[in-house]
Subunit: 251 residues, 2 copies
Amino acid sequence: MSMARARPLVLDPNRRDDPCAHCGARAYSVCSAIDSKDLDRLAALSTQIVVDPGRSFIEEGDAAEHFFNVTSGTAKLFKLLPDGRRQITGFASTGHFLGLAVSTAYSFSAEALEPMRICRFSRPKLKLMLDDFPAMEKRLLEVASNELVAAQEQMLLLGRKTARERLASFLIARADMPSHCLGHQPGHAETVLLPMTRNDIADYLGLTIETVSRTLTKLRSEGLIEIPSASTVVIKRHAALEAIASGSGGH
Amino acid sequence: MSMARARPLVLDPNRRDDPCAHCGARAYSVCSAIDSKDLDRLAALSTQIVVDPGRSFIEEGDAAEHFFNVTSGTAKLFKLLPDGRRQITGFASTGHFLGLAVSTAYSFSAEALEPMRICRFSRPKLKLMLDDFPAMEKRLLEVASNELVAAQEQMLLLGRKTARERLASFLIARADMPSHCLGHQPGHAETVLLPMTRNDIADYLGLTIETVSRTLTKLRSEGLIEIPSASTVVIKRHAALEAIASGSGGH
DNA sequence: CGTTGTGTTGATATTAATCAACAAGTGTGG
DNA sequence: CCACACTTGTTGATTAATATCAACACAACG
């Protein structure tokens, strides 16, 4: 099977038209106004990169010279405190944009969880691109708005939810993610795949690995989920888990 | 003293050219490409609103019919859980944009802390405006990017910082805010004014009012700050407080 | 096979929350 | 002007949730 050329941006892997709850993309394309001819021009402006699991491609504090679009795979995005405490601010998968910030330095680090393909633009070339494709700028504004909403939801989780509610929220959010973000079937997926370690989950939810482990065990013992393997959770009672996630689940 | 007309968007109150750490505005204008003739056209598209302290002008869950720009005053932005737990996701002052989200419903509520003037656009008119002023769209993307960076910083605070570090971060951030956001002198202000209650601070930092009160008392007893009145904090040892805020302050 | 990384479970410690009392300020009406 | 209620903030005693410390199970991998 031959690929004409690696496409610089992620287009329509499976033709669904509802917006992605995670990244807001419609039809999983960067911008409907960008046709395949435009894509060739974009390809000329960008560099395709492959990143192995465990490798970082953005380091907090480094000069922000590039702008990225994730073509496949997943990265964790995080910030560190001097003593090593870490907060994972999000996971970036297919279609996500990284490094948009106005600042001259990256405000977070990014490390691949799975093998990744990334499309990279230098900042000057990003500027060219945005000037050439105003629709692209509109798209980026939509994406940034969606991420802001997600960030505020995460602040609610980190500031006010219990460990139990955090885990329930995390699982529900992963279950409701569409296929292009996660690699499984869309809708309320019953089976949730967790490509990240317990440590990553803990650092994403503002907890310790022990609390994550204990809380998952408790949810399992209550029949809300099953854990066939450490990286797989099956949601048995979606509504009940959702109630816990929203803070109306009792206990 | 006569005002020709209430300007729909905030322009250059005091001519400073460095970007606002909080909202990213340069020269405290919405967009340098918008001149006063354009402003008149924008005024025709917008409605000027006054909001009294304690009044809400955005309710989480309501249909997102409007887009707002804060002309003066400060609002708290927050999300609620069903049992009343609250997370304040930010404070919006002069120059801030609200309600940009792609979603059809507001994802947060907004309530005035001080008397406010707001410039309101209906969504269809926002669309008109953005189509007419592409520079405005660029500006909004910059603003959204900056807010995203601030949101991630807040996630680090909520997920990984101690109560002491949270208060120090909060005070340092307020001290470093430029005058157009706060109404006092720019730079490292020594005196920080807190227009919000202890309850608001607690809900912003993911703590209780008692912990906020105790922690401030402790910082005072250590000589790092003074508290001449409940709504005023004087920073005595900025560098030490900053070290605590960054997580390298010991204790 | 041992080694290493990852995850689970148990015992204990610690931070911040909760419960409670009180102080200080603000506004109201007599 | 003062008594009163009401809001806001502070401080103390106790509790509870989660972190920390520790042991062990298990799988992946050389």
